[in-house]
């Protein structure tokens, strides 16, 4: 449910951006939501659709969500692999999918070495198109 307050904050940023660029309309908003960001994409879209109609500037704005794929890397041998969610891509499971999506993993080659997760917690207002 915190998606609503995040979108509320973003709407404020969009109004500021439009004013600073003397734009009348926000055409497109690109947001990056990492799978570890704690944000449910469907709820975020729902909140955006609910709130955009409150402002003339965003009434017809299109929201695009980009989902970066996080990577796990072994600090010893450099082995790395993408972390994928079961539902995200069932055909292409990473070696760790069976263990669940979240959580620290030890390297399959170095055994006792804990791998480092890179990315996945992104929550970025990336790009705004306006006119």
């Amino acid at each position: 449910m915190h998606e609503l307050s995040l979108v509320q904050g973003m709407m404020g940023q969009l109004m500021d951006l439009a004013a600073r660029n003397s734009a009348n309309r926000i055409v497109r908003v690109v947001v990056e939501v990492g799978p570890f960001s704690g944000v449910v994409v469907d709820s975020f879209i729902f909140a955006f659709d609910a709130l955009k109609s409150e402002h003339r500037i965003t009434k017809n704005s299109v929201l695009e969500i980009e989902t970066p794929v996080p990577v796990m890397e072994c600090p010893e041998c450099g082995f790395s692999c993408e972390i994928k969610h079961h539902e995200q891509d069932e055909q292409e499971l990473s070696p760790f999918s069976a263990l669940g999506f979240w959580g620290a993993r030890t390297c399959p080659h170095c055994k006792d070495v804990t791998m480092i997760t890179k990315g996945g917690d992104e929550l970025l207002l990336k790009q705004v198109e306006m006119e």
């Binding site: 915190h2 940023q13 951006l17 669940g100 207002l125």
Partner: protein
């Protein structure tokens, strides 16, 4: 005639031409992060260690604080910021123990954010400066988040330590089901262990899954009612002030 504006000049309004793409690359949490960092400076200025308590409703956050106040028995000066959707009840329970407390009511929001805690810090500082001799300096400020194991995990409040709590009746699969709260926490407290004989709760499963998510998390199992394990929690607080 021009289709866009009806003027007679025959020119084209090329909407593409007026379009502008701006790269922002700013975190949606950036404003919260900045306020949270100011909150931590504020805590530091008060001499306080700030502790953010996160759990689902009814895990025993307020009861743990009540018992902590009793056990510390004035060893440290304390302040409590209570977050709830509605009512002053939790703050009243803390005040009844003689500790300054501020109630933040979110009016429906499912989590505390840094801006609300900023307000709470000013209010608690005001109370402390009236109620304590030491110019409002305080050893610990506990921030009891809104009962929710999901949303509070996303919002940094400026705390020095984050504590996540799960009570025995909730089940030992909570860490696996609500991973983000555990990934971002420094300490995991299993509460109400006096109820272990009555529930199918595996301390080992809870510990193991929390450590898989966050190998650095500390874990304490306790009961505020029987007092078992409370010494470990007090020891954790002692180390923060040591």
């Amino acid at each position: 005639m021009c289709d866009s504006c009806g003027c007679q000049t025959g020119h084209h309004h090329d909407s593409e031409q007026d379009r502008k793409i701006v790269e922002i690359n700013r975190s949606l949490l950036a404003a919260n992060q900045e306020t949270a960092e100011k909150n931590q400076e504020h805590l530091d200025a008060l001499g306080a260690v700030g502790i953010n308590l996160i759990s689902s409703p009814g895990a025993g956050k307020t009861t743990l604080l009540e018992k902590t106040i009793e056990l510390l028995d004035g060893k440290y000066s304390l302040g409590v910021i209570e977050g709830d959707i509605e009512t002053e009840r939790d703050a009243d329970r803390i005040r009844a123990k003689g500790v300054p407390a501020v109630q933040l009511t979110t009016g429906g929001a499912c989590h505390l954010d840094a801006a609300l805690v900023h307000k709470g810090l000013h209010q608690i500082q005001h109370q402390l400066s009236h109620e304590t001799a030491d110019q409002g300096r305080v050893d610990f400020i506990f921030i009891e988040n809104v009962g929710n194991l999901v949303c509070p995990a996303t919002f940094y409040l400026g705390e020095h330590k984050r504590v996540v709590m799960v009570s025995v009746p909730e089940g030992s699969d909570k860490p696996s089901k609500y991973p983000k709260a555990f990934v971002g926490s420094d300490l995991f407290i299993i509460t109400k262990i006096d109820l272990l004989p009555y529930f199918d709760f595996s301390i080992d499963e809870a510990k193991e899954s929390a450590l898989t998510l966050n190998p650095n998390i500390e874990i304490i199992a306790l009961s505020a009612v029987s007092g078992e394990g409370m010494d470990e929690w007090i020891g954790f607080l002692d180390r923060l002030k040591g």
